[in-house]
Symmetry: C2
Subunit: 333 residues, 2 copies
């Protein structure tokens, strides 16, 4: 019932190999033959069966994409850019939302191998080790996004998180803040480690004590919940840095609900990412903005270039964040 190259070949009274070559515009095939093949293919409603091709060519034209939280606009935007670029290149995207689960990530890697995915674009779950990726990366290209993995040398694109931390610190220091709290961030992610490093180093140079840290997952709800921990800190901080905008927006809501310190009069709040939600919020969120679209597009481009030339040198790109002042930060009183 499904049309195969064999059916087309029989109908035209030629061989399957000729049909196959004609279909793929192999220049060996006579122009006239190609035309006839094309016409028959169309007319008969032929649909290319990649399973057959895959078995021979070991290419599936599909790519795995794994991130940890699709509900975080940061990742949703990265994925959208990746998908856009890969679709334009005729590739399919296998998606996994790993939710920081190493098991889930491992299952996905295994499934990708079984499905012969040609490569992987991944933001590894917190606590991933090189070991988790070694096997997969040995046979297929991997592009790391946003987080790096010590010991895994492959193409990668990350934000300059150290600079991000520095920008946040400088902004608050310039406003006169000295008692600062830090909310959230997976301590086992490179992103957190670098932001924290850049932040604390900048404070230290200014002779300011490192921030009190409040643990929180990267969600609005966790940000709102952090409000109560924040107000208990004694002496009270005059500024709070949130690992992500989602956290910051949640914190703002939590503070409003509990009648906590006013922002920015009593407390300055700054986030990371630069998601649209922060721009539309009231007050507009001050943030260290990161270009999600560039990250996604570049990651896809890196992978496509790698697939086109396995031997090329490793590429890495560092996206420079920018401080986008809003109305949630103000001078320390």
């Amino acid at each position: 019932m499904k049309i195969t190259l064999r059916d087309v070949a029989e109908r035209l009274g030629i061989s399957v190999s000729t049909v196959s070559m004609a279909m793929r515009d192999n220049p060996l095939v006579a122009e006239e033959t190609r035309r006839r093949v094309r016409a028959a293919l169309d007319e008969m409603g032929y649909v290319y069966n990649r399973a057959g091709a895959q078995l021979r060519t070991r290419q599936s034209l599909s790519i795995g994409v794994a991130i940890n939280d699709l509900m975080n606009p940061f990742f949703a935007e990265v994925i959208a850019a990746v998908e856009d670029r890969l679709a334009a290149a005729g590739r399919m995207v296998f998606l996994a939302n790993t939710s920081e689960s190493p098991e889930r990530q491992q299952m996905f890697l295994r499934a990708l191998a079984e499905h012969n995915a040609d490569g992987l674009i991944v933001c590894p779950v917190a606590g991933s080790s090189v070991e988790d990726f070694r096997r997969f990366a040995a046979s297929r290209p991997v592009v790391l996004v946003s987080r790096t993995l010590a010991g895994l040398t492959c193409d990668h694109i990350v934000n300059d998180d150290e600079m991000g931390g520095m920008l946040a610190a400088r902004h608050l220091l310039d406003l006169g803040h000295r008692r600062i709290a830090w909310i959230g961030g997976g301590t086992r992610t490179s992103t957190f480690q670098r932001r924290w490093a850049g932040f604390t180093a900048t404070l230290e140079r200014a002779g300011v004590a490192p921030p009190v840290r409040i643990a929180a997952r990267a969600t609005r709800e966790a940000g709102a919940a952090a409000a109560s921990s924040l107000v208990e800190i004694d002496p009270p901080p005059t500024a709070a840095v949130c690992f992500g905008d989602l956290l910051a927006l949640g914190l703002l809501a939590g503070l409003r609900r509990s009648g906590g310190p006013r922002v920015p009069e009593d407390l300055s709040v700054i986030g990371f990412d630069g998601i649209g939600e922060g721009e539309m919020a009231d007050p507009v969120l001050t943030t260290v903005s990161i270009d999600r679209e560039t990250i996604g597009k570049t990651a896809a481009a890196f992978l496509l270039e790698r697939l086109a030339d396995k031997g090329r040198p490793i590429q890495s790109s560092v996206v420079v964040p920018t401080l986008r002042p809003g109305a949630t930060t103000g001078p320390c009183r």
Copy 2:
């Protein structure tokens, strides 16, 4: 270099068929043989190659998922739920972000067929026709999500949009509003048509004129831009209904920036979807909330059930929306 069943069979001195059956726990295989096969599989680092299996079984264990805007939290949450359920069932997800582009959608359908996807979960782009899906749906199950498609009979899960429109209307009418504006919504989507129908019918029953409609895409930016059109309406409306929360939140930001009418004193604003952002906004957004997780989980379940039994009767489920009052709507003055 890559281990195949043949390699494993040779090493054990048994046949490939036995290895294949043992691997898949076929009860015909002796327990002892199965154990030996399992051990060898593990030891040799065998990875199942689905391309080979696919050719025989015509099953790929992968499912297409197509929505129109990954950057809209509504869809991001639906996808997250779908992916979660499908991954748990051992299926891979092919993702497409169609951006309301019929070409993109067609390309995806074609690619899914070429990749032997077992089925499709889709929110069809605005202006899709049954024709676009007929061919695909003839050979593989399709589950419609959020939007329906007149003439395509298949499993589907939608919100009760007519009731949604009614809830919004009743809420505003109860508050005394009579001059109402409506912002956004793709006029060629079933979602819009039903919301509009439910909304206007309710107004009509109350003897209130239908709302002025302002066109806008479903983004924050479009919502912000709509603010200027809104304030030009004469006589000024006392309430605005936005097709989605993203639009509503954008509108609120646009009004603030332009120093437009105060919300809710001079203008009530209500959205649809119930995304987290609205709950955290200040003022909290009044909205007609729709359970995204249920939609996603159900869509995945419908597809899995269909794959398990092609002959089962068509399933459809209607998710009932709820009015979630916030602080952006108030009595008409």
